[in-house]
């Protein structure tokens, strides 16, 4: 067992102590319930032992994980994160459930659910780590968004604007700010002023969109807890019980996912989603324009210029590829043509001239043949006026070829 640097006896002992203490608390709560309420020994006030498994794992991960491959490290981090959520959920939901009698258990469960729902309404969760981890779980979709945005904008972390308190700004103040940002610039730097005003407007717009999106997830958490409460009630009425922590966790996930699926299928969510993505893109675009202008001022190549070059290069490459393709087909056709018989040396000059003419004729035929065989090639590669003309000619040749072959 001790061969494993992670899975050693001391770590397991920590685990065992922790969960033994949990069992002891359950027994204490049971005896408290038997001796009646108000003994001051209820689970909510029990001195919970800090979860040692978490610190031990985190410490181990920090020391050992760098030796693992990149995907393994990322994966380990996800396992750790979700392990914490799982343990947090178990702590949160089982604290008061060991009392043994049904009435107290319902009361404890409702108390837990109520406090979580209050937390979604903005109540303070300071000091309750398990609760924080639970609430953090509902932010997974938001967290995914922020991680993604951070990866796309290293200079602007995804949560940069999240907590900036502008959304709660009183109406008149907000209007005043909007008016100020709409005022035309003055003097020599008026264009620059307008750009910064626009940057602020798009930034504020993104912030509003993000806060609307966050609010959606808060009410999602609230509804999920209600769904869990309803489902547990239904199980009670049906005489069913959940007998393991994993069973409870899966039920909880099922409720979250079911509520989420209902809510995100609505036009309202589609609007919030679209607004969030569009606001973010507008902000990024505004920043890109300003960066481009700064680069231009320093006589550096800009993104806009590079894109123009890329577009032109791609047009040229399309044409080149099409031409190369047609040339290859011509070569293939030529290779299949019978070579002209070589007459006597005395006639060589005349023969060469004749062969040249025949060759010209064959070449012409090959071109037609090429058009025919490449009819499946895109006739839509025109990207300029001259390209368009070429395409039309090719199409005309194709029609002729098709006609002559009876197609």
């Amino acid at each position: 067992m001790t061969q494993n640097p992670f899975f050693d006896d001391s770590w397991l002992k920590l685990q065992r102590d922790y969960w033994d203490s949990l069992a002891n608390l359950g027994r204490q709560a049971m005896s408290a319930a038997q001796s009646g309420p108000g003994t001051g020994n209820d689970s909510a006030s029990a001195p919970w032992m800090a979860a040692p498994w978490m610190q031990a794992m985190e410490q181990w991960r920090k020391v050992m994980a760098p030796a693992a491959s990149d995907p393994a490290q990322t994966f380990m981090q996800r396992l750790m994160d979700q392990g914490q959520v799982y343990f947090g959920m178990v702590e949160q939901f089982t604290k008061g459930l060991a009392a043994g009698d049904t009435a107290n258990a319902w009361e404890a469960l409702n108390k837990t659910l109520d406090s979580m729902q209050q937390a979604f309404s903005g109540a303070n969760t300071e000091g309750n780590e398990a609760m924080k981890r639970m609430l953090g779980f509902w932010e997974l979709p938001l967290d995914n968004w922020q991680r993604m945005m951070s990866s796309l904008s290293p200079m602007m972390p995804g949560d940069l604007l999240r907590n900036m308190p502008h959304a709660g700004m009183p109406g008149p103040l907000q209007e005043g700010l909007d008016r100020m940002l709409s005022a035309p610039g003055l003097g020599y730097t008026r264009e620059e002023q307008a750009q910064y005003q626009d940057l602020m407007r798009t930034g504020m717009d993104y912030q509003r969109a993000f806060q609307e999106y966050s609010a959606f997830f808060n009410q999602l958490g609230f509804k999920s807890l209600q769904r869990l409460r309803d489902q547990l009630q239904q199980k009670a009425e049906a005489g069913e019980t959940i007998e393991s922590a994993r069973g409870l966790y899966d039920t909880w996930i099922g409720c979250c996912e079911a509520v989420y699926a209902e809510e995100v299928a609505t036009p309202e969510y589609a609007r919030l989603h679209g607004r969030l993505v569009n606001a973010q893109m507008a902000l990024k675009q505004r920043l890109s324009v300003m960066v481009d202008e700064s680069l231009g001022a320093m006589n550096m190549p800009t993104r806009g210029e590079l894109r123009t070059l890329q577009d032109r290069l791609q047009e040229t490459r399309r044409e080149n590829k099409q031409l190369r393709y047609e040339l290859d087909r011509i070569h293939e056709k030529l290779a299949t043509l019978p070579t002209a018989p070589t007459p006597g040396a005395a006639q060589s000059k005349t023969s060469q001239a004749g062969a040249g003419q025949a060759g010209a004729g064959q070449s012409s035929a090959s071109r037609t043949g090429t058009s025919q065989s490449s009819s499946s090639q895109p006739s839509s590669r025109k990207t300029s006026a001259s390209g368009s003309a070429t395409t039309k000619k090719t199409t005309a040749r194709k029609k002729t070829a098709a006609k002559s072959s009876g197609g």
Partner: protein, 354 residues
Amino acid sequence: MFPIDIRPDKLGEEMLDYSRKLGQGMQNLLDAGDIDSGVSPKDAVYREDKLVLYRYQRPADVAQQSVPLLIVYALVNRPYMTDIQEDRSTVKGLLATGQDVYLVDWGYPDQADRSLTLDDYINGYLDRCVDHIRRTHGVDKINILGICQGGSFSLMYSALHPDKVRNLVTMVTPVDFKTPDNLLSNWVQNVDVDLAVDTMGNIPGELLNWSFLSLKPFSLTGQKYVNMVDMLDKPEKAKNFLRMEQWIFDSPDQAGETFRQFIKDFYQQNAFINGTARVGERPVDLKQVRCPVLNIYAMQDHLVPPDASKALNGLTGSEDYTELAFPGGHIGIYVSGKAQKEVTPAIGEWLNAR
């Protein structure tokens, strides 16, 4: 009656067991080493820009069919999903049925590929791959197996080049992009795709990952990792999960112009259903798909709902249309044990009969 009956001692034991497995799993992850992907031997037979066309080596003991099969994977994610591990390989299953298997690997587009259009992909890259295979084998027509977005590409290709396609197999392929249960479609309706592409150039793979994970965020970014702990105590299973995890997050960026056209034409305008699909200057008429069609969909597919695929029925000009429903999800249709037994042999049998 109270519906939660978790005895404290049992809870302690359960959590201890979880911790033990987590610890063992972590150790297995640490020992996993590099993760290989794509297990069947293959040769690169054609290259163009970032595209590579592979031909898989045929097993010595299997008689090979004369008509080769080209697998056209989506631009999203990587095609090694079809050959992800020894006992979970669609490619291997197809080889076992005698198919001569080719696969298009589109590569990882960068900003220089931003201007690539659907026309470039379908009438350019894909057509040149098909021609290469036709020339190599001296055949006029080949078989095509299109997967997901690659299935949509294959449909367009078969409509535009019916003279080069002998049989078409579409797997988990979106055709009707606006079925009510299509969450991705619902979300993208209000997205200003022009603004996104003009801003980003290429669309980053991370953005697509976010969209896919958002379909089931609590299961895919939460529960999955908790459940996985049960399976990580075996080193080989740990490695398999790492391989899958690597694939899930291995999302190439999308060439901007292609993304713009695909999202606007298909997700927003539902071009197959409305008959408005175009590639370059050419309209796509699905009635031109006259070859036999096998349409395979997954009944629990949350990315391409079954109805999105089943909509193909009646849209093509084929008189030989077959559907195959697989009881699983979008990924399970390639990697599940059930798929190895049911889906791949069925494809081989269907192709061999035609």
